[in-house]
């Protein structure tokens, strides 16, 4: 009888075997704390956990440039969509401890909601002097790192003159031929709906007219770009830098800043409350907002947030933009309602 269940026994031992992990992670925590204690202001070192929604390549370049200046900080990057990063943070919070130290995500509204959950630490970087007030949080919980405008993209093979107004999307010319990202999947798109629906001359009527004009809604900005570049659609509502980059590669696509103004998102950066490496976190934030960090952003293809750093070829700088904006508190509180209303409107 002894060996009757030996099969189960093997199964069990196998499972145990899988459970044994090869990590020497357990000691990391204590190391972190020790390093934080040992680090003086002159030598910043230790582990820094960086959660971001930037494209992989941009995040890599940023970390490399940061490491040139601070070689002793080992930065662990986690990259995914803004929503996935937020979901991961929430799960970590539920499990007892947020692992991230620094966050760099799509828009201020996301940070507002994190702020209201007391997940962020205040830090007013000295670099903020060179940045316009409306691009950062007055309590110092987060600061914009670049300026990303939402514009109209047009396929140059299909469209002879670039549009000058958002209203073109409600006319016969754009009937069945325009596309936009879904606010359910794109933080930037959700922000735009919030702004448009509260701006004089637009409002929900404008969004209804888009619907009547058979505007397509697709998952994300990348998909909008592809749809317009391939000529499947003539016009698209999309973030500016993607279009400029694709145009530079030779795609039949161009961008137009409508004269009424453009909504912008700022990809803010913020520090997590109770981070165990505050010195490195602050150094990282300072670097991103510094002249070097901003020049790097412009090199990659973004409009810098800092005054005095030139925007990349093909994009407008912050001082040349007419902005469409809304009250950030209202936008944050109403975001879910906006998404719902949009879903109902486009659902029928």
């Amino acid at each position: 009888m002894l060996r009757k269940n030996s099969v189960l026994a093997v199964l069990v031992s196998m499972l145990i075997f899988t459970g044994c992990s090869s990590g020497n992670q357990a000691s990391k925590q204590t190391d972190k704390v020790e390093e934080a204690v040992n680090s003086s202001s002159t030598s910043i070192s230790g582990q820094l956990s960086f959660y971001t929604s930037q494209p992989e390549e941009d995040a890599t370049k940023l970390v490399q440039a940061f490491n040139k200046k601070y070689p002793d900080v080992s930065v662990e990057t986690f990259r995914s969509g803004t929503e996935e990063v937020t979901a991961k943070l929430q799960a970590e919070k539920q499990a007892g401890q947020v692992q991230a130290d620094v966050l760099l995500l799509a828009d201020a509204v996301t940070f507002e909601s994190l702020k209201s959950q007391n997940l962020l630490a205040a830090y007013k970087s000295p670099e903020r002097e060179q940045i316009a007030d409306e691009l950062m949080d007055s309590d110092g919980m987060y600061t914009g790192t670049k300026v990303i405008a939402t514009i109209i993209a047009a396929n140059t093979d299909k469209v002879s003159t670039l549009p000058t107004s958002w209203q073109i999307l409600t006319t016969e010319e754009a009937k069945d031929a325009a596309i936009m990202p879904s606010p359910l999947y794109s933080g930037a798109a959700a922000y735009n709906i919030g702004v448009f629906s509260r701006t004089d001359g637009f409002g929900w009527e404008f969004i209804e007219k888009l619907k009547v004009n058979n505007m397509s809604v697709i998952k994300g900005n990348g998909a909008v770009l592809k749809s317009v570049a391939s000529g499947e659609k003539n016009y698209g509502i999309v973030v500016d830098y993607m279009v400029a980059r694709e145009k530079a590669k030779g795609s039949p696509i161009d961008l137009s800043y409508p004269e009424e103004g453009v909504p912008i998102i700022t990809e803010p950066i913020g520090i997590i409350e109770n981070t165990d490496n505050i010195d490195a976190a602050k150094a990282f934030v300072d670097f991103v907002l510094s002249e070097d960090g901003q020049k790097l952003a412009a090199e990659i293809g973004y409009t810098p947030v800092r005054e005095g750093v030139a925007p990349p070829e093909g994009l407008k700088g912050i001082s040349d933009l007419t902005l469409l904006s809304g009250d950030i508190a209202i936008l944050t509180n109403e975001r879910e309602a906006d998404k719902k209303q949009f879903t109902e409107l486009f659902g029928n």
Binding site: S6, A91, K219, A223, A229, P252
Partner: protein, 585 residues
């Protein structure tokens, strides 16, 4: 719910056999082993679900079912549920029909180039679902080939829109049919031909033969494949998100995603409640599958018989082109569009001499060390997942078939749930469990490669178990007995008799596990760390950044690697195959 076919007499025989069957673990008494097994299954498979359940009923003041009540009152929820049922059932039926036809042709006819066909069939499962979706939507789009073809006849003609229920069902169906095929093809080969001869001699026609003989005997394989397709369709997020979102068709998996990424303190709880409901549907599906195989019989000859049984003769003239063209249509066209995209300098310009480049591949192969790292990580992860799943899953399947009990059935249910939950939900539940598995103890697994490994094993183990159960059900206990009576030692029995018979079935499960793990995305996207980036995450990152040219180049490279890998595997099998035992899978 007594499911399995073995009658009492065989059970008693089994008991005697198990005693002598294995290995030096006898120091573990039966009870402890059982207890340990239960604890481990509870910890690995039930705890994550438990955490979700807990979250879904926990409110500020205590516990309540308010989230569920709120859900059940929403019109949108019921609409979503209806969509989900229609899509999952219809696409499962489509996969079943395609899978069975493909398996029948491959198992019984003398069609040419079987090896190549086999690869082609597998390809549509290997292609990441977003690649399939993208290529089909552009193929059927207003600018696509089909549209220009239709306009020859009628200037207003528009192709059928992929952004519809029909489109989702179609893409899901073709994406999952290889699962049914893989599970059915070996089962068909094992059905002894003398049964058919007997039926023919008694005057049964070909149709009757198929419905009365082949189908009942092939049922375990068909339903196992069907169940997996059902579970995979339930959890599939990529296809409905891409094709359903623009036209506001939501299914449970996309609704869960939208809830979870929504703001507010209750977002998580609402997502968890939905996930629990989804899990219930999966459990119901599994039970249904058990019911359907209750009556199926094993047969005592369990040799793989790969000799063709039907000479297609003059039918070959139309079956051959039809089969090839449909497969080419399903996989090669999308694949070709993907590869041609990866060779372009600029997106949106046609592929021509001045727009062709190998730059994208150069970048992938030489300019970005992270990509090689991610390919290595994925290969290592997929390989170790395969090995563990093959061992654990096969043993589990053995017990499940030879010593069925309520307990082992419950265990199987528990193990199947991680495969059903949408990836994002499963990943979140893993975070909840593994950051502090036991309050106050952080093993430091979260954020390392081990985390991904554990998640993969938990999620894909069921694939191996289903393949294993199908394989074991096909091998009658008389084989065991014959071996014992002839005086073979347990070791000898396994190595010379059982393994050769089982290997094809077990290996096809292992291949499934490997391929699924290799290109896995949704779970990795939340659990990876910068040291353990996977192929799926890399492709997804490019895609999200709008770098379609890079993402298609990498996808093409992976497909190429898989094709080469499968070719190598077949070569190895050829070398390994012994006399009388055919290792074709």
């Amino acid at each position: 719910m007594d499911v399995i076919t073995t009658d009492d007499k065989q059970q008693t025989l089994d008991k005697g056999r198990l005693k002598s069957s294995l290995l030096p673990f006898s120091f573990l008494t039966r009870k402890t082993a059982k207890l340990l097994g239960i604890i481990l299954i509870l910890f690995f498979f039930v705890l994550p679900i438990g955490k979700l359940l807990y979250l879904s009923i926990k409110v500020e003041t205590g516990f309540s079912f308010s989230h569920y009540i709120e859900l059940l009152q929403q019109v949108r929820f019921w609409k979503t549920l209806e969509n989900t049922f229609i899509i999952v059932i219809a696409s499962t039926v489509l996969s079943l029909i395609m899978g069975i036809i493909a398996a029948w042709i491959m198992a019984y006819t003398n069609i040419k180039h079987k090896k190549l066909l086999h690869l082609l069939i597998l390809l549509s499962f290997v292609l990441p679902s977003y690649v399939l979706t993208l290529s089909w939507s552009s193929f059927m789009g207003t600018q696509g080939l089909i549209a220009s073809f239709l306009q020859l006849f009628h200037s207003e003609a528009k192709p059928w829109s992929m952004y519809s229920m029909g489109g989702i069902i179609f893409v899901m169906g073709i994406h999952h049919f290889p699962l049914v095929y893989l599970f059915t093809v070996n089962v068909l080969k094992r059905i002894p031909r003398d049964l058919e001869w007997a039926a023919k001699a008694s005057g049964a026609g070909r149709i009757k033969n198929f419905t009365q003989i082949i189908l009942p005997l092939a049922l375990p394989g068909i339903t196992a494949g069907g169940l997996l397709v059902f579970l995979a369709s339930l959890d599939n997020f990529g296809i409905p998100a891409f094709l359903g979102t623009p036209v506001n068709i939501s299914v449970l998996s996309t609704l869960i995603y939208e809830e979870i990424i929504g703001f507010g303190p209750s977002a998580f709880a609402r997502g968890a409640s939905l996930s629990v409901l989804l899990g219930l549907i999966a459990v119901a599906g599994t039970m249904l599958q058990w019911l359907s195989v209750r009556k199926s019989k094993t047969d005592d000859t369990a040799r793989l018989d790969s000799q063709p049984r039907y000479d297609l003769g003059k039918h070959r003239l139309w079956i051959n082109p039809l089969l090839w063209s449909s497969l080419i249509f399903i996989t090669i066209v999308p694949l070709f569009s993907m590869i041609s995209l990866s060779l372009k300098k600029a997106y949106g310009r046609p592929l021509s001499m001045n727009n062709v480049t190998l730059e994208n591949y150069k970048y992938i192969l030489f300019n970005n060390p992270k990509i090689w790292q991610s390919i290595q990580n994925s290969l290592m992860l997929a390989l170790s997942t395969l090995i563990i799943c093959l061992i654990v899953g096969s043993l589990f399947a053995y017990i499940r078939v030879r010593k069925p009990s309520k307990l082992i059935q419950f265990a199987e249910l528990a193990i199947s749930i991680p495969y059903t939950l949408p990836g994002i939900v499963f990943a979140l539940s893993m975070i909840l469990v593994w950051m502090e598995p036991i309050p106050g103890w952080n093993p430091g697994i979260y954020g390392t490669t081990s985390m991904l490994f554990i998640a993969y094993v938990c999620r894909f183990l069921i694939l191996q178990i289903r393949a294993g159960v199908t394989a074991f059900m096909q091998v009658d206990t008389s084989m065991d007995e014959a071996a014992r009576i002839s005086g073979a030692s347990p070791w000898r029995k396994w190595v010379s008799i059982l393994l050769p018979l089982l290997l094809p079935g077990l290996l096809s499960g292992a291949i499934l596990v490997f391929l699924t793990a290799l290109t896995e995305l949704t779970v990795s996207a939340l659990l990876y760390s910068s040291r353990s980036q996977t192929i799926g995450v890399t492709i997804f990152s490019f895609e999200q950044a709008g770098d379609t040219l890079y993402s298609t180049a990498l996808s093409s490279l992976i497909v190429f690697l898989i094709v080469v890998g499968t070719g190598l595997l077949q070569l190895i099998q050829k070398l390994l195959s012994r006399k009388g035992v055919n290792h074709e899978y």
